[in-house]
Structure formats: structure tokens, C-alpha cells
Amino acid sequence: MFDIIKYSLLGLMVLIFQWMLGDIFSIYGRTPSFLVIFIIYLGLTHSQLHAIWLGFLLGFISDALTGTHMMGITALALSTVGYLSGIFHGRIVRIPVIVQYLLYTGFLLVFFILTVMITLQDSQFATGNIVFLILLPRTLYTLAVLSGLFIVLRVGAE
């Protein structure tokens, strides 16, 4: 129970950080998603169920704050990523490092494909532009931040 409260509060802090200070990390308008990093971390190191539901809750609040016209899409994406990362809970240390980072890239792609591609599908942007100008830069940027944080936090290390 204590863990649920602890990680919920931590999640809210990450959300507030993303919301208030996310722009500081903006490079050419592309910002990393700290929320998805947190949910991946939670799924890998703590609990799959908590990752799913905290992903849902934080995603929902994030959608309400950003005013997106598809409220609920981030909730869907984060809970899916929570589930996927939770599959490797307790097992990630036994996986080779390169495969670990391939998995992280996969998680991030799932998240950004769901949020970016679906949200912008009815916009006037060509799919190629969305992929190369938004999806891939944000995925790579978030992966770089995730890598740095996971090395510091020793996620995936024995």
C-alpha cells in the first residue's frame, strides 16, 4: 500500500515536472516524454499492475491538461507501455544490454505511434512528415534521456 502511494506521488511529480518544466528540454520543439520513461521504469522495477493503472491515470490527467482533442489517447498508450514493460519485470537483468535497449526503443515506439500517429491521422500532415519530423525525433530524444536515467538508476544492471 505504501508503495502504491509512493509511486503515485512520484508519478504526479513527474507529470507536474513534464507539464511545468518540460519545455526547458525542448530541442527544435521536440521534448522528451518523462511520463513514459517513468512508466517503463515502474513496469520493469516495481509492478506491472501499478504500471498499467498509474499509466492510465497519469495519461488521463496529462490529456486533460494538454487539451488534446482525443482525451484518453495518452491513457491508452501509457497503460499499454506499462503492460509491455511489466512483462519484463524481474527478468530485465537477465537480458543482454543491447536487447534491453531494443526493448526500450520498442516501448517508446508503441507509445509515440499511439499518441502521435493516431492524434495526427486526421491532420493535413503527410505520414512521412509525421514519422520523420515528429515521431522519430521524439522517440530518439526520449530514448537518449531514458538511457541516461537508467544508467544512473542502474535499471537492467545486475
Binding site: M20, M70, G72, A75, T119, Q124, L133, R138
Partner: protein, 260 residues
């Protein structure tokens, strides 16, 4: 009975995922319902409480500088106002002579910016005025220079969410000052802010002013939007695309004015 319990436990995570995804889809499908609008309002209202103390501390450090700036602006504006009054009188007299109808009047509600949010899908900001202060949905929003900022897309009793002009989904009907041609200003990933389908013979040059056309109920006529920065080559021989630099500096907005 005994055999079902282990299988439920085995698929516990999957069942939770399906439930969460189902709920998410339900939310996506009911975005415009009153319940969801209310929930969004509650989240916005709660988020404002986080920002108020931060804003208050910021204000302490900047208040004197702001006051001096405002004094300078006030003097300049007063001089401009005197000039404008003379021109307005003349204009009203001439309009009366020509039999024009009076223009629509509007009030403004000053609002402090609580937060600005940039995401891949929406650029928006939250302000500290809401429905109880007279703000209504789809009200136009301008900055202190009366330059177009955006429109209100969600409200709660004491806060409002403003979709910015630099949002990818924002569209506004604009008029180019020199040619008087009208078009829709929108954002494209490759070229930035553009007015599309401008007639090829329109006399548009870089540096021309772009203002709202007044063709929508949201924005009154003649709100400054920005400047023409470049004109694309003529496409298909009959229209061209005009690139626009927006006037308002969205990174430095501290207060805005909501048109009522």
C-alpha cells in the same frame, strides 16, 4: 471452480490491460460529453492551484520592472489613443455619410497566464479566468499588444484553456493588408504558418501585415496576426502560398486578454 482461479490469476495483468484500454477508448469516444468536459474542467481547476503560488513568487521579483514598462507603454498608448480618437471621429463621420452599419463592440477580460503547454498535438496555455469571470468557450484571445494569441477551448469556473495560434490544428480566417485578399492561416510541418490558395495575381510582398478578416464569430476584424515572410512559387498556375511569421511571442506571454 478450483481450476478457474489459477487461470484468472495468470491472466490478471492482461485483464487489467484490457480494462484500462477499454476505459481509455470509452473516454476517447465520449470526449465531447458534458461529463468529460466537467472532468477536464476539474483537472484544469486543480492544476491552477499548483501554479498560483509559483506565479505569485515570480510576480514579487518582476513587479517593479513590469510597472516601469507599463508606465512607458501607457504614455505611448495615450499618445496613440489621442491620434486614434481624431481618426475615429473622422472615420465615424465618413461612415455615417456613406451609410455603413456600426461595427460590433467587444469587451476584454484580462487574464494571467498560469502555464503554457506544448505537446505534439496541441500548444495551449492555461489562464486564471473562467466561466465565473464571464469567459465563454471559443472566445478570441489577444496579447497586450492586441496581437492574436488563440481561442478558448475549455473552461472551468476559474480557469480556461487557450489553444494557441501556433497549434498545429489552429485555423483562422485572415486578410492580407496590402492586397486585401482573404485566406485561411494554418500550420504545415514543412513550411510553418501559411495562407494557402492566395490568388496568383494578389499583390503580396514580404513584410506585409496580416490581420484577422472578421469572417468568423470568434475573432473580430483587424486583430494583428503577423507579417508575410515569403511567398511560395505559384502552384498549378492559379494560386500561391504565403508564408507568415506570427507576431505574438508565445514563450513570453504573462498576461492575455480574452475578447468578450
Amino acid at each position: 471452480m478450483a481450476s478457474t482461479a489459477p487461470s484468472v490469476s495468470r491472466y490478471k495483468s492482461l485483464i487489467n490491460l484490457v480494462t484500462a484500454v477499454g476505459l481509455s477508448l470509452l473516454i476517447i469516444g465520449s470526449n465531447a460529453t458534458p461529463l468529460m468536459v466537467r472532468v477536464r474542467g476539474i483537472v484544469l481547476e486543480s492544476s491552477a492551484y499548483l501554479y498560483v503560488p509559483i506565479k505569485w513568487i515570480e510576480t514579487i521579483f518582476t513587479i517593479e520592472k513590469d510597472y516601469r514598462e507599463l508606465q512607458q507603454r501607457h504614455i505611448k498608448a495615450q499618445i496613440e489613443l489621442n491620434k486614434s480618437r481624431t481618426l475615429l471621429n473622422e472615420n465615424q463621420r465618413l461612415r455615417k455619410m456613406l451609410g455603413f452599419k456600426n461595427e460590433k463592440q467587444f469587451d476584454v477580460i484580462p487574464a494571467n497566464v498560469l502555464s503554457d503547454i506544448g505537446s505534439q498535438t496541441m500548444n495551449s496555455l492555461t489562464v486564471d479566468q473562467g466561466s465565473e469571470d464571464g469567459v465563454t468557450l471559443l472566445s478570441g484571445v489577444v496579447d497586450s499588444q492586441a496581437q492574436l494569441v488563440g481561442k478558448v477551448v475549455a473552461i472551468s469556473p476559474h480557469t480556461a484553456l487557450v489553444q494557441l495560434v501556433n497549434d498545429k490544428n489552429f485555423r483562422v480566417s485572415v486578410r492580407e493588408m496590402r492586397s486585401r485578399d482573404v485566406g485561411i492561416l494554418s500550420y504545415t510541418l514543412k513550411t510553418g504558418y501559411v495562407i494557402q490558395d492566395v490568388p496568383k495575381n494578389a499583390e503580396v510582398i514580404a513584410g506585409d501585415s496580416v490581420l484577422t478578416s472578421g469572417f468568423s464569430d470568434i475573432f473580430p476584424e483587424n486583430i494583428f496576426v503577423g507579417w508575410v515572410s515569403a511567398i511560395s512559387p505559384v502552384v498549378e498556375d492559379y494560386v500561391k502560398t504565403v508564408r507568415v511569421d506570427l507576431a505574438s511571442d508565445f514563450n513570453r506571454l504573462e498576461e492575455v486578454f480574452i475578447l468578450k
